[in-house]
């Protein structure tokens, strides 16, 4: 409980941490989505490539767009970009900084998906089994051309009756998986080296500009949050005053219409009643509230 609360508070503490949190959640979600996805290659000559490449590239686009949508800072950046200058100049460096940080965070989940897909290997086997050279594999070497395409297309389906105990199928499958995993690990290595270099070499260029850009982008984000909170507070006070005025106006109207009674002086406990002490008066108040809402003016 305590640990959970601590983690939650840490992520809520600053907007950057919140965005890192969302980025991490999306990455976990992408892995979970991949493991729960039931990958079933169609094992038909024209459909294999479309299916395999589709599964490899369409979900990353979706995850990228999700990363942009869920990131609050993308809205802030767009507003900052499109606002009229007014009395505050626009600083393009800040906008560029925000844009690059948003894009970096949004790219994590798609990259995780692609790497996991490649390391698993099923997608590539499905997509490229039809493009193999049959001469390299003993079982497919002496088969006619149309038949060989059909057979190669069936390689990803282990349980197919033709392919059940076919050793050449296993050979093709292993070959393609080896390529797939090599590609996956290389991409991972390149990206990690790129990230490392970017982070290590960054202080050598433009550190001061970077600090400024980061400060002002944080500022814009905080300013917008505080503005929204202030608006909420203000609308609450506005509503409070409006309702009080309404009750007072009802009280005045009632005093106007009814004959003066003894003991008009209200005591402390009666103040809460606002002079409305009758069933008909209450009904009238409620009816007036519906039919004629008071104007939005509390001056």
């Amino acid at each position: 409980m305590d640990r959970f609360r601590m983690i939650f508070q840490y992520f809520q503490s600053s907007s950057e941490s919140a965005m890192n949190g969302i980025c991490g959640l999306l990455a976990l979600a992408s892995v979970k989505m991949y493991t729960s996805l039931d990958f079933s290659c169609p094992c038909l000559p024209q459909y294999n490539m479309a299916y395999g490449l589709g599964i490899m590239f369409v979900p990353p686009i979706i995850l990228f767009l999700c990363g942009l949508i869920l990131n609050r800072q993308s809205l802030v950046m767009l507003e900052e970009w499109r606002r009229p200058p007014g009395r505050r100049k626009k600083d393009l460096a800040v906008i560029r900084y925000m844009c690059s940080s948003i894009l970096q965070r949004a790219m994590v989940a798609p990259v995780v998906w692609i790497v996991v897909t490649l390391l698993d290997g099923q997608c590539l086997i499905c997509a490229f089994s039809g493009s193999m050279d049959p001469q390299k594999f003993v079982g497919f070497a002496n088969v006619s051309t149309e038949q060989v395409q059909q057979l190669l297309a069936k390689v990803p389906c282990k349980d197919d009756e033709l392919m059940r105990n076919n050793t050449s199928r296993k050979a093709v499958s292993r070959y393609l998986r080896c390529w797939s995993q090599a590609l996956g690990w290389s991409i991972l290595l390149i990206l990690i080296i790129a990230a490392f270099l970017a982070r290590w070499l960054r202080p050598c260029f433009n550190q001061a500009t970077l600090l400024q850009a980061r400060h002002w982008s944080n500022y814009i984000d905080i300013e917008q949050k505080i503005f929204e909170e202030t608006c909420c507070e203000h609308s609450r006070l506005f509503a409070h005053k409006c309702i009080l005025h309404f009750f007072e106006s009802m009280q005045q109207e009632i005093k106007l219409h009814s004959l003066p009674r003894e003991g008009e002086g209200a005591e402390g406990g009666e103040d809460l009643l606002q002079g409305i002490t009758d069933q008909d008066q209450v009904n009238k108040l409620l009816r007036t509230w519906y039919y004629e809402k008071p104007p939005l003016d509390v001056s």
Binding site: R5, R82, A239, D278, Y291, P294
Partner: protein, 338 residues
């Protein structure tokens, strides 16, 4: 428990978080409903399509309606839409904003159901197994069968134990083909929804940002005003009830004094608040009488001012004095506050 309370407080903290919370719960409920649902394809020629498409399309509709119902803003929207103008103009931009934000949140759970159903593949397999392209997928060497026979055989594809057409078309081939189509449709649908959401969210700051801020402020205001009004009315009702009951008991004890014609044994002055709280009712008979008259003859909803002379109690007197005059002068009502 602590964790739930914290999450609950976070969601209650402001109205938008609360609505996002309901939206998330509905989304989880829809995936849970799908995995708990026992899908039973009927495996008969015309029923398959109806069942498959029904499971695909009817629950999203229900989830959408449920999402609208659970959103308390819908009653606020309806009220704002139907109220008479009175002294406050109506802003159609605010109504549009409220409707859009409610519809967007209500669409999440149905979209999730559709995606999960399509990605899983069972519905499409059940619905479209009779429309398979036999020329490309079937075995070439099958005996010619009548159309009705073929339909009946194909309809049994989703039911593994019943399928008898292995010579016509291998079951695994058919299932793989249909599931591939279903997953392709599912991913395309998810991509379309995500692109739409992205466009809606990113184009808004580029056009009409000022109008958006205005609509958002006033829609929050309407909601807060309604809640505050309800709270004020509840407080008023509480004070009203308190004074009414107090006056009832005072009336009772005054009546008792008048009826019994002897001075009740007044507790000495320094007995303090406890005696005062007893409101003059100090024995069983009196209490029973008070309870009986509370049930048989409730006091009128009219609080008379406290400094009234005795004898004006409740017993038998039901009509309130000095009622405001019957014709409601609505025209003169708001002279002071315009």
């Amino acid at each position: 428990m602590d964790k739930f309370r914290m999450i609950f407080q976070f969601f209650q903290s402001n109205q938008e978080s609360f609505m996002n919370g309901i939206c998330g719960i509905m989304a989880l409920a829809s995936t849970q409903m799908y995995s708990a649902f026992d899908f039973n394809c009927p495996c008969l020629p015309h029923y398959n399509l109806a069942y498959g498409l029904g499971i695909l399309l009817v629950p999203p509709f229900i989830l959408f309606l449920l999402g609208l119902v659970l959103n308390n803003n819908i009653s606020v929207l309806a009220e704002e839409w139907r109220r008479p103008r009175g002294q406050r103009g109506k802003d159609p931009a605010v109504l549009r904003y409220m409707f859009c934000s409610m519809a967007q949140r209500a669409m999440v759970a149905p979209a999730l159901w559709l995606s999960v159903t399509l990605l899983d593949g069972k519905c499409i397999t059940c619905a479209f197994c009779t429309s398979l392209p036999l020329e490309s997928l079937g075995n070439a060497s099958q005996p010619p069968l009548s159309r009705g026979e073929i339909q009946r055989v194909l309809a049994r594809i989703p039911c593994k134990e019943l399928y008898t057409g292995q010579q016509l078309i291998a079951r695994e081939v058919a299932v793989r083909y249909l599931r591939c189509i279903s997953q392709a449709l599912g991913w395309c649908f998810v991509l379309l929804m995500t692109t739409l959401a992205f466009l809606v969210r990113s184009l808004r700051p580029c056009f009409s940002q000022a109008a958006f801020l205005k609509s958002r402020y006033w829609s929050h205001y309407i909601d807060i005003e309604r809640r505050l009004f309800d709270e004020t009315c509840a407080e008023h009702a509480r004070s009203f009830a308190k004074v009414c009951i107090q006056q009832f008991f005072e009336g009772m004890s005054t009546d008792l004094v008048a009826a019994h014609c002897h001075l009740p044994r007044k507790a000495p002055a320094d007995a303090g608040e406890a005696a005062e709280k007893l409101l003059g009712i100090t024995d069983r008979g009196t209490m029973n009488m008070a309870l009986k008259s509370w049930h048989r003859c409730k006091p009128p909803l009219h609080l008379h001012p406290p400094a009234l002379p005795t004898g004006n109690g409740w017993a038998g007197e039901g009509q309130p004095p000095t009622h405001p005059s019957a014709p409601r002068k609505e025209t003169a009502a708001y002279y002071s506050w315009v």
